[in-house]
């Protein structure tokens, strides 16, 4: 299970609470304001069965806190779940008492990098372990860096140093690292390979990992996911576009052995875009089309000789269609860009009919204010009728 190493402020733990993350570990240095969070966490813990309350011991705060599992797309889990099937699959494993480790196991000596790596591997999924600031170098010294992923998870800034954490994070979830902060090692509830890497904030040592991540994204892990998404798009295009929940549920049902897999809409569209299915294209071509209707049309079309087919359609031409947006030039020749002309350009509509034997059979261009009407269509048919052998 890949791991996520990040640095968070104590106040950010409230996001964990809001996102229903399962947190288990030890805070060695409690910062200002932690007592408020502690009291709120106590209230939440008391509302969850089989979860002990937080307690304090000689200035150190040992806590065990668990909430119901939720996905990162939701900052606050209210109302019915958007992912019912995944919730049902994930919840028993999260709240099982066996997944709660004792607090003593989360304290590592400063020189036990190997022990830390082994401990991290033993962590069950959905676990988060807080490490004190004095021990944070152990995380960077883990003997298997490939197990430390740069995966993003909700409301937390993925970083490995305090200097980067001070820059804030993306998505408006900015926070200021206080003097006493905790380091957290989290096994995310989703495979990090599906997540966006923070290439901009990653240290140079992680660049090979990022490249490996991108390679894995398209080659190693995602063939199954890609095949599932493309199959679903082809079979159930309307469902895919209207309700992404159905897509996610279908994926979770198809891959129930990995119930922790979370597929964000961004990941779905990234995969589709890689296969040249942009959202606009899908909406236009796949929104309402029916494969059965297309097959019926194909049977009809197949019976018509191609020389007898006259394809008719219309298009518009506006000013933006007449300018080179990015310029062009021959090699070693300065590019001359045409600036926007101040002259008003008429908006035209062109109806055209083509056939295999005659090429362009008929075309008709009109200057329209807004759009063509049915009268234009019938006028075009009258002219076209004269060209056809009916």
């Amino acid at each position: 299970m890949p791991l996520v190493c990040c640095q968070i402020a104590v106040s950010t733990l409230e996001h964990l609470e809001a996102c229903h993350w399962h947190v288990h570990g030890k805070i060695m240095h409690s910062g200002a304001g932690h007592s408020d969070w502690l009291s709120r966490a106590n209230q939440n813990c008391s509302a969850v069965r089989n979860v002990p309350r937080l307690d304090s011991n000689r200035g150190r705060v040992d806590f065990r806190w668990a909430g119901s599992f939720g996905f990162g797309a939701q900052s606050k889990f209210t109302g019915p779940s958007r992912f019912p099937s995944q919730m049902q699959l994930a919840r028993p494993s999260v709240l099982a008492p066996s997944t709660i480790r004792s607090a003593n196991e989360t304290v590592w000596p400063a020189d036990s990098a190997t022990a830390l790596s082994a401990a991290l591997r033993r962590q069950s999924k959905y676990h988060a372990v807080l490490i004190s600031a004095s021990d944070r170098h152990v995380v960077s010294c883990a003997d298997d860096p490939l197990h430390v992923s740069l995966a993003r998870f909700p409301s937390l800034h993925v970083t490995t140093s305090a200097r980067e954490a001070k820059r804030g994070c993306r998505g408006g979830n900015r926070f200021v690292v206080p003097a006493s902060c905790a380091f957290i090692v989290v096994t995310p509830p989703q495979p990090p390979l599906l997540r966006t890497s923070h290439a901009a904030t990653a240290p140079p040592s992680y660049l090979p990992l990022i490249r490996a991540y991108r390679a894995c994204l398209l080659s190693v892990l995602l063939p199954q996911l890609t095949r599932a998404i493309l199959t679903l798009v082809e079979k159930e295009p309307a469902v895919f576009l209207r309700d992404h929940v159905d897509l996610l549920v279908a994926l979770s049902l198809d891959y129930h052995e990995s119930d922790h897999r979370y597929v964000s809409t961004a990941a779905v569209y990234r995969i589709l875009r890689f296969h040249h299915h942009t959202r606009k294209k899908i909406e236009r071509l796949y929104a309402e089309r029916s494969l059965a209707a297309q097959r019926a049309f194909a049977v009809l079309y197949d019976e018509i000789p191609l020389r007898c087919v006259v394809s008719v359609d219309e298009t518009h031409t506006a000013g933006t269609d007449m300018y080179q947006r990015y310029g062009r030039s021959q090699r070693n020749v300065a590019c001359v860009l045409l600036d926007r002309d101040t002259r008003p350009i008429a908006r035209t509509r062109t109806m055209m009919a083509v056939s295999l034997t005659h090429g362009v059979l008929w075309s008709q261009t009109v200057i329209v204010g807004s759009a063509q009407t049915a009268d234009d269509w019938r006028l075009f048919l009258q002219y076209l009728h004269a060209q056809m052998n009916t």
Partner: protein
Amino acid sequence: MQPDACVVLYDNAGIHDQRGDKYMQVNGIHFLRLPPYSANLQPIEGIFSYLKKHVLSLVYDDDHYLDQPFHLMAAAVSMLTAGQVAGQFSRVSHEIAKLLAPVVHM
């Protein structure tokens, strides 16, 4: 004029209303509507992309076309070749063949 009796193929745009269908029925024009949102089965859709490229090239070479939209479109249409049209018909034929192919369940 077309050598054979031809079939007009058009999509389900709003301007292609029932009165146009009635006009074709009265005048003995055979027509066939595309399935909804199946622009990939329409040969002329690819022709329009060529047309717009020609419009770009013509305006780039001579900006006087900006004042003469009819001349511009006529020149652009005249630049379309029979090969481009035949290529689009071939593309649609491949699409039709894929639709008619038996579905293989993995």
